[in-house]
Symmetry: D2
Subunit: 318 residues, 4 copies
């Protein structure tokens, strides 16, 4: 089907779903699902355990936890607090084996000037930064037994800085020696119904593009020197994806519909690749660089970034 | 065809094109085209001259001038100045018969918090406002023979104010008695290649929805009491439009393609309305409230709003 | 003393204090003080009851309630909620005699682009606007017995609009017919220790400058046609005020100090007006247009505006 | 005099003036002045040539070039271009001995959320960043003979990041190896008439506080490993400075005035330190953390930051 050739998603969950559609078991990929009916939060864990699984999935070996919370997109303070607590609990699982006084650098990735890409910077804006206080006055100044000094950087995007994001993060990590980096970024989903109501946590860092192999631009333990936890929220869908999905539905309908049986017969003569070619040229090239996003993206991104900041503040502030 | 039933465009030019596709002459609608090869600016004037024409076009009687300037979306100061001058010249044609000291109220419509909708507020931000100076010191204080006092209002959107925009404009017009209102607004196009490179000027005011008839929410001479010139720039395409267009292309390809002739034969058995139904259910309902916009919309909207402000500043400042 | 001649304050409380310094009783002005020790909120009510009192105070007849809450400037969510509730309770006293379904227009005055002046626009941003919903679906759609339709306008400042703020408000009031206007504005204090921790409520509207007499630019029942409640927070001190205050302290110290008795003797030969002249020329004219504001004004203004919005949302939303 | 003890200025020019007031020659400090009458730009160069001079001036050995351009604070596009060109020319003098293809990292220091401190981030926003293009496509892609790859970072302030600014810059410099860092920052002046119309260029980097000695937080060749050029614009005056200056004028007036001769006689009995003590306690402690800034600081900072960006874009883009 079309999407196996070209369609982009940053969610491991969606990558997995594509294979499920065809009832294919993927060796080296383990799936767990859990639905909290009362809280209306669905948690899906995708564990990629072998290099083979990684190749099939187009994502590196590691754990991907997805929280789907439909009401994330609406202003319900109490609900956001619940998601925040849930998230905190899963983040704790992904952190490197507990140690006393784990120092953390949060990297708020993305472009502050483009709303759907501003999630990372917004999260950084709302953090309770403590590293400088601990350094100046000692951890007892915080009046707590355990202290995880928190620092944050908003590196900007390459068009603004002229530098790869990983160069900036690596430089800052070498100077300030955090125990772990938490990279927060806006993602592209493939299904518009996931926008602004899904949070993906993973212990594999940030892997641009296909995401497998040792990309020089990845932000991972390999490239920055300390473990990298990634927090992502899908805020856009590529315009080409939306179109491609709709067209595939059309073709499928033609293949199965009673009234259109004639069409179906013709189309069944084509294999997936041919159908893809058929469709590809119909997708106008000017959809490149276009994205689909909800009309209220400004508000929802602010709200979710606040929910994520609260989870981080709570996790490292007590 | 699909779009005749449902697809939204705010551009008279695009409305006209839909009929041309079928080679239909529309009585009461006159078209003029002009291409300035050197400046790469295409100017299309659509004149709707009769109520019949208005009904067919779904837009009120009046003049619609569209400037298409592909390089508007890129940062080329010199080119923007040329477009600005061109625009100034056409605006002059739309203004009510020249009078001395014509006072002008610019209404910057739209939502300042949502970038693709912030065109109007941004234009208002860059104007050289003079009404208060002329009122305080007299027009000779401006050191000019002719003075057109300029004022501006950014009314906000109904979700922010609880009021119809026209209520605010009408109230302000009654109090401050401008000779003409210029309403600046972001538009929805139906073709994504027009985004951020097209400016529509018209003397019919702002007509929400289908736009014909005396809508109580329209911003027109009828509803605010003085002539209303509208300046619009398409900055988004409805997500449903993009999908619908692509699917129509697919169907058309099937009807005409050699290899798919069998499909074509089947589909030819359906009329436009049936094809529309076929497609409609395939367009996911969650596309409602989604729009398509270019990744660099923040920069381009700022640039074009500046170009429009300059045209207005020059037109009324000399 | 200097300040009687020239120094500006928008707080009735501070105006009153100037006379107290001299132990002067002002006929037609009644003062009540109340300190809630537990909550650390001091409430001072100044009632100007006669035209004579108004002339002496330089402020119109009416009630001025000042809440001083030192912790307003710091981020303490719980404390802000307490201030919000206190404020709601006093606002209720100032509202015109209770009626069912009182419709309210909030005017967020000031310049959104200049942080210390952005209080009004920020408050408007955070309101739960309901007028359009009540109008469209009826008050029962709100699922409540009593509904006070809330609308809001951010008129901008004269340099941006070319219009007096009162022209815009009056126009909007005539069109949309609210029962009461609540005008929110940033104020100038004379004592920097009051900045961002004081809220003044009054039933006299907004009175620019000396504030007495029927100013054409005032925003009052007389100029807009319905009662106007004013909510103000001092966010700046005029630079000239700071200097003037310090110099007066110096002179006073010289008059009373033992070691400087010689100076005191000389200065006692001058009356207040002469001392004022002496000082005036020392205040550099380039202090005009300069203001004093705390380094963290951006954060504190955002916080307080949220507190005020919450009071309004609660007052009119239940 | 008061200011010798306590008053803060970031301008070498103002530091120098304080000694001139007393007609003191400072060994190790050379002054050159140049006034371009036509352009109304005054250029003052202070060269600190010895460690002794550095100690007296409270600023490190190096060159400080100050451009004073009164019209910088007003919107005059042509004038801004002239200042931009002038600045470019002086920057060239401060750059390390010309080499081919000098790569430059601009650090936009300060807090983007606080307008008078946002100069650095604003300058970074307007730069034509080229490093990533040169790296990807080679310098010939730029169609120029000489290319100076430009990169930029907006590190934020310690309260936002938990890190010293120098830690971030040093990390980024080590990773990306620019030949020179240009640090842009908002300054505090001591004379309010210099605000937003003065640009200081120096080859000594950024030296917080008294600025002499090898501060661990300084951003200099010593701390980051490559030469650091500093560009600064005074945008605020400490509130305490304004008061202190006015009081000194008052004392001086008393010492010399005919009518106040008696006071003068008394005050002459005190030395500078005693007078300072006399005044100090009169300056309210709540002026700490307060600054004085012009009402239109938002606009002027935007304008000047654009002028500086243009100088940098032109210097490194051709």
């Amino acid at each position: 089907m079309i999407e196996k050739y070209s369609i982009r998603t940053d969610l491991a969950l969606e990558q997995k779903e594509r294979f499920e559609a065809d009832n294919v078991e993927i060796p080296g990929v383990v799936l767990e699902e859990n639905y909290d009916e009362e809280r209306e939060i669905r948690v899906t864990t995708v564990r990629i355990t072998t290099e083979n699984g990684a190749r099939t999935m187009g994502k590196p070996v590691g754990n991907y936890i997805t929280l789907e919370a439909p009401k994330l997109a609406v202003p319900d303070e109490y609900y956001h607090r619940e998601v925040s607590e849930e998230m905190e609990c899963f983040l704790r699982q992904l952190l490197p084996a507990e140690k006393k006084d784990c120092s953390v650098l949060v990297a708020g990735l993305g472009n502050r000037q483009v709303t759907p890409d501003a999630l990372g910077p917004y999260v950084a804006d709302n953090l309770n930064i403590t590293r400088h206080i601990v350094k100046e006055y000692g951890k007892y100044a915080m009046g707590k037994d355990r202290v995880d000094p928190l620092s944050a950087i908003v590196p900007g995007v390459m068009g603004q800085t002229g530098m790869e994001t990983v160069e900036i993060i690596r430089g800052v990590v070498k100077e300030t020696k955090p125990d772990v980096v938490i990279a927060v970024d806006a993602l592209a989903a493939r299904n518009s119904k996931r926008l602004n109501r899904t949070i993906q946590l993973s212990d594999t860092g940030i892997n641009p593009g296909s995401g497998v192999g040792n990309h020089r631009n990845a932000i991972t333990k390999e490239t920055v020197g300390v473990p990298v936890i990634a927090i992502g929220v899908p805020t856009v869908v590529d315009a080409a994806t939306i179109v491609s999905d709709a067209m595939e539905s059309l073709i499928r309908a033609m293949e199965t519909s009673d009234t259109l049986r004639g069409v179906g017969v013709v189309l069944q003569g084509y294999n997936a690749a041919e159908k893809y070619e058929l469709v590809k040229e119909l997708i106008a090239p000017h959809l490149n660089g276009m994205f689909v996003t909800p009309k209220d993206v400004d508000e929802t991104v602010k709200r979710i970034s606040y929910t994520i900041s609260e989870a981080l503040n709570h996790l490292f502030g007590s």
